[in-house]
């Protein structure tokens, strides 16, 4: 190895190390701090007595984002002995599905996706069933857990 070759190689290695180091620090600096897995926020949606004895019932819950009141809906279903909350957001492209009492199906108005009472896909493009939201009953009130942005709070 020549003296010049050694020096050139060393300089190149140092430059490469500096670029890698600066890049790593910069990437870490840019990565947002304080990221935690989202926790469900429990919002009250109805009284315990109002729970459906059988079938599907639409309920509304309120929450607050930056001081602004928002309302959203959820389907409470009692079916085959189970009680659960179904999100009305279609798993295809996120439209809000409607419950059809006569056909006993959730029908998406956008592309005709259909789900049964359990939220399972019967027809249409949806790739997955309607998602089930955690539900709990405390002191006669029904709460559902929703993934809201960090700036939101139950109202």
């Amino acid at each position: 190895m020549t003296r010049r070759g050694f020096l050139t190689g060393t300089v190149k290695a140092v430059i490469a190390a500096v670029i890698t180091g600066v890049g790593a620090v910069a990437a870490y600096f840019m990565y947002p701090a304080g990221m935690r897995a989202r926790q469900p926020v429990y919002c009250e949606c109805m009284e315990e007595e109002a729970l459906p004895k059988k079938g599907v019932k639409r309920a509304e819950y309120r929450f607050e984002i930056k001081g602004r009141q928002m309302t959203a809906s959820v389907y409470i279903v009692r079916h085959d002995g189970g009680l659960y909350a179904l999100s009305p957001v279609c798993s295809h492209l996120g439209c809000i599905v409607n419950y059809n009492r006569h056909k006993n199906e959730f029908i998406c108005p956008c592309h005709g996706g259909k789900y049964d009472e359990g939220g399972n896909v019967i027809a249409g493009p949806p790739p997955a069933p309607l998602s089930r939201l955690p539900l709990k009953v405390e002191q006669g009130r029904v709460y559902i857990g929703v993934m809201l942005p960090q700036t939101a709070a139950a109202a």
Binding site: K12, V22, V25, A26, Y28, F29, M30, Y31, A33, G34
Partner: protein, 215 residues
């Protein structure tokens, strides 16, 4: 690496004209004091990179500037490190430019044909001072506010036009939100671009005229 560079150089043809410059023999009598200019430029590069990073989190607004600095210092990953690098590089930039100026003065490198290089260097020093002055306001705390109030009021002592010049610098009667945005713009856009152009001229003339020039 080499192959990629060769491919790029086929297009840009930047290697051949620089080869003579990069592989030349240094004139006799060169010592480590001749590295001070390079040290100053390294400080400039550090300031440039750390400044680019800080600009991702800093908010140049009257209401949020101080809070965003606190956030950078306490919450952002390595925010304290990047801000300290920016602060200390700024200090060292001034130190290195001044000692480089002293070296040039002592070795009489300002003489013809390099007199324009001396002038460009002085303008760069002014740009560095201006960057330091405008950057000092950005944390938007008491020290920054009053330093800028005192500093800008000096402009008003210029006869006749002084008061109006101060209003232009402040963007109003007093130091306020308009001053903050103005100084931010100067600090991150006007001055870095101007200094980059000046430094290009500075280095171009060194390439053409040599380190020591004809004495």
């Amino acid at each position: 690496m080499g192959r990629v560079f060769d491919w790029l150089d086929e297009k840009f043809k930047i290697k051949a004209p620089h080869k003579r410059f990069l592989q030349r023999r240094l004139p006799p009598g060169i010592n480590y004091f001749y590295c001070l200019g390079g040290a100053a430029f390294t400080s400039y590069l550090l300031l440039f990179i750390s400044g680019l990073l800080l600009s991702l989190y800093y908010v140049p607004s009257e209401m949020e500037a101080y809070e965003s600095i606190v956030r950078i210092q306490n919450e952002v990953h390595l925010g304290w490190l990047i801000r300290s690098i920016h602060k200390w590089s700024a200090t060292f930039l001034i130190v290195f430019i001044l000692s480089h100026t002293l070296r040039v003065f002592i070795s009489r490198a300002y003489k013809s044909p390099k007199e324009l290089n001396w002038i460009v260097g002085c303008l760069t020093l002014v740009g560095a001072f201006a960057s330091g002055f405008t950057g000092y306001l950005l944390p938007w705390d008491q020290k920054a506010y009053w330093a800028t109030t005192v500093g800008t009021s000096m402009a008003s002592t210029i006869p006749l036009a002084g008061r109006h010049l101060m209003y232009i610098i402040r963007g109003g009667m007093d130091v306020g939100g308009a001053t903050l945005i103005r100084f931010y713009s100067f600090h991150v856009l006007w001055l870095p671009i101007t200094m980059a152009a000046l430094l290009w001229a500075h280095f171009h003339m060194i390439k053409r005229l040599g380190i020591k020039g004809r004495l």
